[in-house]
Subunit: 262 residues, 4 copies
């Protein structure tokens, strides 16, 4: 049964625009219409100007809110390797990526609403206060009205709030957690939740109880404003559809981040 | 003797920020203080976020106006090769580059004033109406108050004005011209004007008479709003100093593009 | 009925190893076992060292002959754009790519047998004698025993033979031709032959008669040593299977290039 | 006074070919003639096919032995950042780079003699046995006659010898050491030995005594077969000249690695 603190509205997000040149990636056309927010790659770990534009137009067509998905500049590693950047380089590369995507968004008449770092940068900025502060500075310098999306309970939540930036805490409905609230590495047997029904029920339970079971049974207290569906999980669209249905049944409204009452 | 149409004020520009990672290029510290406007590479043919920021700070310190210098995305070719992009790709890559540099400029509190395409894009956009229109669309979509810098007399002048964009026609004081008003290829014996005094006198004569002699003796009618000193010409700073002195003696004021009465 | 000049044995080739980092491309595992030769990307237009090794191992496992597939160094354009390289740059980039793939081949105990330029380089080297000579020089300097694969009837056939290099003339069973013997651009309605049965019969007829009908009805005289199945044509494996069956029925043997009696 | 174990002949090496496209780096024309061996970048952290060829020709002209200088594929970071590659990726990228440079060497009739990893790869392969083994495997697979150059006393010395590969231990005459025998980071005040005379005497003393003083006074026992002059140290050519003179006065012969009696 839902607690008093039960969450009544939530954002559903996925990554998109991660094709590059002639190499396609992900099924944006199927996934984007099922989301309320979408994080678009900015050309550093994936994406290019034509891909950005195409993805922005898709989001616009389906009235899905749009955010930037900056990553380490490492096409070959798809932004999943930690590049040992000092803070000023993280700040500068984040800023340039926000600018590139925002320019493409202006070109199609879309407004950026949030920033969610990608891959290795998502992790280093969540865990390392210096790098978190670098992403926060870049975001605030670019547009202080943007919401920063980060792992629920991460250090970046604190750093961003101290700097006056709006934060959305994120939970993953198709990924397993360790007891420290971090995603299990993809090599772990419980890393992926691939049964759509299980993922959907997990999402509803989390929002109703404010807790999520880690792989070792530990109970994590999480209060997310957004749920992520991994666009590279096989069957992502099926998981998203199941989650939408379960959330609807549970009376939890889907709303883009920037429209949530924070 | 100066004609009635003699030009009384002019902008002096050079390219800058064309280093990349550990590879330096050009002597920005020496040249930028001698300019009224500076065109900063945006990471596609040269430059990276740290280089952009460093160059923007240098321009800010010396109160030099700043513009974007977008090019074909071709680091290895330094933007000097024609990449056979269709118009929509030229438009998208230009837009993304304007955004990247503008974001870095916001980060240091500087306002972009103009756009000058680089290298091969400078030439293709000057000569090909479809590509000129692509650069114009990108610039206008990004910020209709930006001034577009192009070769004096080029097709882009017409295209940009038709679309309501402010244009600055450019002349080169250290480069030879052919009778069609195009720069001589670097392989031509008269391609470079390397004597600073000759270049300086050439600049003054051009502004006073509205004409410039091509390599074959033909008289070109040119009415520039900005003069370019090539940052990669050896002795560029000496040429710039000589030009400043000669312009001063001739009573021609130096003023950044955005402050010129167009 | 087959003419006296009917071809009794033929090589069947496709491109492979065109993934890059996290971006997959093509179904190498399905296609490679159906070929007698495979052209492996060398890291310039596609491929990377791990992809090369994986692809080489796949070819080795299925006893398929291996060649290099060098292209213009343009990952974003997938080697399909003409980069305006002078001959010495074409030669140098081709040579470096041959070396990179050959080193990976040594690592897994495989011997390179042929070279087939990719995409835009396939076309420019076929049509432009200077660039053809550059590819020939690179190939011969690297290993004069390699066979150069080029469009049947192209200038490169002549250039390579004059320089003493073995050449394999290539025909495409799933692509339409113009009356000059060039592939129709992909935008042309007859550019692709997508019916496997039609493609297979076309292949057999070509080998039996030495002629192929262009899209406008003109009869092209072609005497190929190798047939290409485009790995990026949808249904490539089905086409390859149909071709193998039809060739078998017609009594035409499949044999890798380097084993053909030239 | 020289000990009985005094070294009577030594190789002198520097890095070269680290330009990229239009960005020059280092003064190869001045430095290469002063060396007995030169390590040429292979296109991953620096260099490109034309730069490789130009550098190989320079080495050939001056009868200087040539080796490969593979690095992490990170142009922007110039190979000085640790890219978190697993061993198989280090092996594959090393192998591909050896192949690329060797192909260019074949093109100009030069034989590769050694391999010296660059920058971050030099350090990770020296300290981490798994990565050392990866570089050793790549080198041996490519050509077991190549000599591997690594930091004197590093783990790679042991790993390579166990695998039957010839190793050259290296000392740096223009860099300070810590008491563990590692180079001081460039930020350390004693990191660079910039006085040519000091560097030269240091080299001679090292070869005569088999010991080198670390920055903290500790005595390092080092028995090098090759001395490195950093091509990016300002005044590298002056340091090299001073070292050559001092070695000559001390009766120590300069000889390329592959001609040393190991």
């Amino acid at each position: 049964m839902a607690s008093e603190n039960a969450i009544r509205e939530i954002d559903l997000n996925c990554d998109a625009g991660e094709s590059f040149g002639h190499w396609p990636m992900g099924d944006d056309a199927a996934l984007i219409p099922l989301m309320t927010s979408v994080n678009i790659a900015c050309g550093a770990h994936a994406g290019d100007p034509l891909v950005m534009r195409r993805t922005l137009l898709l989001a616009k067509e389906h009235h899905v809110a749009v955010g930037a998905h900056p990553g380490y500049p490492d096409l070959h590693g798809f932004g999943r390797r930690v590049i040992p950047f000092p803070a000023d380089e993280v700040e500068a590369w984040t800023l340039a990526q926000l600018g590139a995507l925002d320019a493409m968004a202006r070109g199609v008449g879309v407004v950026l609403r949030h920033v969610k770092p990608h891959g290795a940068l998502y992790n280093t900025a969540a865990d390392d206060e210096t790098l978190a502060a670098a992403v926060v500075r870049a975001t605030r310098a670019f547009n202080p009205d943007l919401t920063l999306v980060t792992r629920a309970g991460s250090r970046m939540v604190t750093v961003a709030r101290e700097e006056g930036l709006r934060v959305a805490e994120e939970a993953f409905i198709d990924r397993g957690y360790d007891s420290a609230g971090r995603l299990l590495p993809r090599s772990h047997p419980s890393a992926l939740v691939s049964d759509p029904q299980v993922a959907a029920e997990r999402a509803v339970a989390l929002l109703q109880t404010g807790t999520l079971a880690a792989a070792d049974g530990a109970l994590l207290r999480i209060h997310p404003q957004t749920l992520c569906v991994h666009s590279d999980t096989s069957g992502a669209a099926t998981i998203a559809l199941a989650a939408r249905a379960a959330l609807n049944t549970a009376g939890i409204a889907l709303r883009p981040l920037y429209q949530l009452a924070h």
